[in-house]
Amino acid sequence: MIRLSWLRRFFKDSKGISTAIGTVLLVLAMFVISSNVFLFTISQNTLYSQAVRESQQTDTDRFNEQIIASDANYSVWGNTVKVEATLTNIGAVAAQIINLWIFDTTLQKYGFNDTITSMNLNLNPGQILYLREAEAIMVSIPGAGSADNFNSWFVTARGNTVAIAKTEEIIVAQVAQGIGLMALDFNVFRYFLYNGSNVLKNYPAGVRSFNVPVGTPIAFGITLTNLDPLKRTIYLNRYSQVWVYFPKSPGTNPVWHIVNVASNGTITTPYSTITLAYRQTRLLVFASADPGSFSKVSITSAVKNLPCALNLLLLGTVGTDDYGQNIPFVSLFVYES
């Protein structure tokens, strides 16, 4: 009853209607505007919070990125330093290597290779990458020498730097001292057949075997590394050779002299001195019956189905000193093809 009379009085009395309309409009306007501002502020804050989260995640990923670079090996070819290393991702996130820096502490010069992105040096967690031989990274440092000392580090796509730990040099040097100045790689011993008068077939892969055919001209491929503790360069002259010894046929001792080989497998003459800088690994080919020139060598059928010992005879200079070394290398079995 009271409410009815109040409503009736309200509608009958038109005096306050403008105030009411104005108030309602004002309140409505304020409500709409403040709602818009509030919602906009909320949306902006959400975007900002998201950016903060992304930023924190980026930093977390960076901290979680852990790469170990080990087994560093440096060899110098002219003005180029060849870096071999092993990369292991021990972190929880995938990583990409984008740059390699080298500092030559002897020369006080630095260099980098920022084109290694094309090599796809990407590591999943737990993955190991071996950067050896063809996968080794080249960095140009004008004037660098094989006896120089180097420090190097990789840079990842997240901006982390990974210093490369060097191989324990003293152990390598001791081993090299025990057998001479050259380290031999038994695992990659190979021989070559010919694909013409002076072209090696399937060079440089060759045939990975310790069984060689009789009566067919062959050449040998031997991978050596210069590990001279005094870090000198070794120069091999034309008398360097491999020779085999048959215990059951002592008079048969064929020899294969060192030769120069072009990248397509062609043997070039006359022989020009082959050099191995300190820590440089190189595939050497022994093919010629005569020193300095080229004539094919085959194993006589008189020794078919016999085992033999292959020896490596190296002559030349190391630094400015004379160098001569004979190393028993691998055993072969000569079979009748």
């Binding site: 038109s14 005096k15 209607i17 403008s18 105030t19 309309i21 104005g22 409009l25 004002l26 306007a29 304020m30 505007i33 818009n36 501002v37 906009f40 502020t41 902006q44 804050n45 975007l47 900002y48 950016a51 903060v52 992304e54 930023s55 980026t58 960076r62 984008i98 740059n99 820096w101 630095y110 980098f112 920022d114 840079v155 796509a157 997240r158 901006g159 982390n160 730097t161």
Partner: protein, 174 residues
């Protein structure tokens, strides 16, 4: 019958309105007051809308700038000082998630020594100048600061400040 009744009602209302001068003035004043109120209301609405638009725009710009700043990341790959040439090279990588990272100033500090410069060149690692003078995502480049005199062998702090206001620190030995 119905039309006649309606006609009588209209006549009665008209008579009431036009014969009652007092009621006429009430209506006019009410209309005027309501009109003024509505007009004022719209004016206030427009003003408030304008103010809120300006606020939201300003807020949006601030938030965008802060967000962009958050996304900036620069890593210092290497710093080289050449004592004889009095030059310093700072090799950088943009590993963040935003393009156009432009460097505003470089601070070099050691104890009380504090050098600040905005005069430098930004080049790619191959030596060519970066045309847009900024580093995009994944891009590497170096800053070359000339005519700078540092003490050989001393330890220095470097601070790189970008145009967006992000700060990146590193150290080096001259």
């Amino acid at each position: 019958m119905y039309i006649g009744r309606t006609h009588m009602l209209v006549r009665r209302i008209s008579k009431t309105i036009f014969n009652n001068k007092k009621a006429e003035s009430y209506v006019i004043s009410a209309v005027i007051l309501a009109g003024v109120s509505i007009a004022l209301g719209f004016a206030v609405l427009a003003w408030a809308q304008g103010r809120s638009s300006a606020y939201t725009q300003e807020y949006s710009e601030t938030m965008n700038a802060e967000t962009a700043k958050l996304r900036e990341r620069l890593a210092v790959e290497y710093i080289v000082y050449d004592e004889s040439a009095h030059k310093i090279w700072i090799y950088l990588l943009n590993w963040g998630t935003i393009d156009d990272v432009e460097i505003q100033t470089v601070h070099i500090r050691k104890g009380t020594l504090h050098l600040t410069t905005s005069t430098f060149t930004l080049s790619f690692f191959n030596g060519t100048l970066i045309p847009d003078e900024d580093l995009d995502i994944g891009e590497e480049g170096y800053i070359l600061i000339s005519s700078i005199d540092l003490d050989d062998g001393d330890y220095y702090y470097v601070r790189i400040v970008t145009v967006r206001g992000a700060v990146f620190d590193s150290t080096f030995v001259a």
